[in-house]
């Protein structure tokens, strides 16, 4: 999404075509030297673990005693015991409940699940479309290239969020079985559809530059097949910029999901999503600000962590870019 690509290109900041792929150890060493990257990495890894184990963390609900870390979130776990809702934090619901008696901490955890799975799937779609179209255009004929550039022109002449909203609205209106995953499927499809042009252009530019390189010319002259050249020479060289671009885009996707949910066109109620929780909480901002602040904090921290990580990866993968 346009709103959050942090890779502002500095005047001399063009990810170089001939970026030497440093050994993984080198990259890791450089990453570990960066405290922001380390903190972000720890945060992201924790978040992934939490999302993966959400059902375990959320085992055993109210009323039956406290065995798990926090009470279980599900539709059957509306806590009906409170006389007034939303309820403030207590020993069962560590962050309190929302206006229906649903545990906020549980919803945050399941929200992480939603955010991260959407991010991973969208980024995979983006990488698939972006890399193949980018290579297709960059390594192919002039006509292919022209076609791709014009298509991306159209996509760029337009705010992504508007197109994504439109696609979601259209998909939403279809008569699909819309359980949470498939419902997110519409969301994932929409975000994937609007996410690829940036990456495609990046890959195309790199491919254009690389194919002029002598060793590739040489390989081609000696009769190596195009697919082999792409797999053996182009892709390995493209890996660094792709990884950097994708990490940064992940932050954008998480944000886009939250934004769409916030606008009522993402994950629908009552399924948990941070954006949705923010939207729901706005009505309670004067009476129960925690309801609003908790998802805001999660969303901001997560986006921030991915942004730090993306920047650090860029620096680590291509030391020449460091200022």
């Amino acid at each position: 999404m346009t709103e959050n690509t942090t890779s502002v290109s500095l005047p001399d900041d063009h990810v170089s075509a001939s970026a030497p792929t440093s050994p993984a150890k080198d990259v890791l060493r450089r990453l570990l030297r960066n405290p922001a990257a380390v903190l972000s990495g720890i945060y992201v890894i924790t978040l992934v673990l939490v999302a993966l184990t959400a059902p375990l963390l959320a085992r055993n609900g109210h009323g039956t005693g406290m065995n798990g870390l926090i009470s279980h979130w599900n539709f059957d776990d509306i806590d009906t015991h409170y006389s007034s809702l939303p309820a403030p934090p207590d020993s069962i619901h560590r962050l309190g409940t929302d206006n229906l008696g649903q545990d906020i901490l549980c919803r945050l955890i399941y929200g992480a699940r939603v955010s991260l799975s959407v991010a991973v799937l969208v980024v995979l779609i983006e990488a698939f479309i972006g890399v193949s179209l980018g290579l297709f255009a960059g390594y192919g004929s002039g006509i292919r290239d022209l076609l791709l550039m014009r298509i991306t022109d159209v996509m760029f002449a337009f705010p992504d969020i508007l197109l994504a909203l439109l696609v979601v609205a259209v998909l939403r209106s279809g008569n699909h079985p819309l359980p949470p995953l498939l419902n997110m499927g519409g969301l994932i499809f929409a975000l994937g559809v609007v996410a690829w042009p940036g990456l495609a252009r990046l890959v195309r530019g790199q491919a254009l530059a690389l194919r002029e390189k002598e060793y590739i010319e040489a390989a081609r002259a000696s009769g190596v097949k195009d697919t082999a050249i792409i797999w053996r020479h182009l892709l390995p060289n493209l890996l660094s910029p792709i990884i950097v671009s994708i990490t940064q885009d992940a932050a954008g996707v998480i944000l886009a999901e939250a934004t769409l949910s916030f606008l009522g066109l993402g994950v629908p109620a009552p399924y948990p999503s941070w954006g949705r929780m923010i939207e729901d909480a706005i009505g309670f901002k004067d009476t129960y600000p925690l309801l609003l602040i908790a998802p805001c904090l999660m969303l901001a921290l997560t986006v921030m962590a991915f942004n730090f990580l993306g920047d650090a990866l860029r620096d680590a993968l291509d030391p020449r870019l460091r200022q």
Binding site: V154, A157, L265
Partner: protein, 312 residues
């Protein structure tokens, strides 16, 4: 220069047509039609079929698109909203656009006022604690999305300390929170860019020469560095305009600002095709014009760019 502008404008027309086609097709791919909404919850299938016929929605898609395009070209007619008292879309655009433009301009101004000084000081005191703090702040600000910043600003400045209105767009004080919510991200980018640009200039030989010639560091910075480093920053303003326009969709919704973003999102949820299409075309037009303007500006500032036109 004029040639480039004309060429770019020429290229923009097919792009705009493609955008209008894209939006039209996507909107009409929806299995349920606006008739479902117009006819309401008690309508029978026959009633819906009749209304679809009266609205011309039962015609083949290409015919509908053709007549849509023809009405725009021949009559300047973008159709009428069915969810907002049959207003012509052209009227809605005329009403909404100035609001969005004002919001975007204020946000850019805000970004300049905050971002430039921070960037300058961060560069002058390179690697100082201020520099580090500012650059961490930049990443933080870039990461705080408007759906978080907006409600949090409201919480602190309209609910806890009710000094500013929660939402609306009546007088200048109503514009403060939306401007900050929209502009803070651009401010952070501006700071980062200004810093990088100034650092770049400070390393140049002529700066060293100037200082060697006896200008004090302060004089050298003011006379040469800031001026030279500011020019590239100008183009960032253009570049961030697109992001601002996108951001205004969300900020306008949070703060109930009656601009094109708010109207578009409202219309998407109401399936008001004519409005969605009109607004999308308008936004695409703004994007295109701003992009061309930025490229031209860039060419003016940096003649080297003029020759190599392939910027991604």
């Amino acid at each position: 220069m004029l040639n480039i502008i004309l060429k770019r404008l020429g290229l923009a027309i097919p792009t705009l047509i493609a955008v209008s086609m894209l939006v039209f097709v996507v909107a009409h791919l929806a299995p349920s039609s606006p008739v479902d909404i117009i006819a309401g919850e008690k309508a029978t299938p026959e009633q819906k079929a009749r209304l679809a016929h009266e609205y011309g929605l039962d015609r083949p898609l290409p015919v509908q698109y053709g007549s849509y395009l023809w009405n725009i070209v021949a009559h300047g007619d973008f159709g009428r909203s069915f969810s907002r008292s049959q207003q012509p879309v052209s009227e809605m655009i005329k009403n909404d656009f100035p609001v969005t433009a004002q919001l975007a301009l204020q946000a850019i101004l805000f970004a300049l006022i905050i971002g430039l000084p921070v960037g300058v000081f961060a560069a002058l005191y390179h690697n100082s604690w201020f520099d580090r703090l500012a650059m961490s702040g930049v990443v933080a600000m870039v990461s705080v999305p408007s759906i978080v910043l907006g409600p949090v600003l409201v919480l602190f400045f309209a609910v806890r300390h009710p000094i500013l209105p929660v939402s609306g767009w009546d007088s200048p004080k109503y514009t403060i929170l939306p401007t900050i919510a929209l502009g803070s991200r651009t401010a952070a980018l501006m700071a980062r860019f200004m810093r990088a640009s100034l650092l770049d200039v400070l390393r140049q030989d002529y700066m060293r020469t100037a200082i060697a010639k006896g200008l004090s560091k302060g004089q050298a910075v003011w006379r040469h560095a800031i001026k030279n480093s500011f020019l590239p920053v100008l183009t960032v303003i253009g570049n961030s305009f697109g992001a601002l326009l996108t951001g205004s969709f969300i900020v306008e919704t949070i703060f109930q600002v009656p601009g094109i973003g708010y109207t578009s999102i409202d219309s998407i949820s109401k399936r008001d095709y004519a409005v969605i299409q009109g607004m999308a075309l308008l936004v695409a037009l703004i994007f295109t014009v701003v992009n061309i303007a930025v490229d031209v500006l860039y060419g003016v500032i940096d003649p080297r760019v003029r020759s190599q036109e392939a910027r991604a």
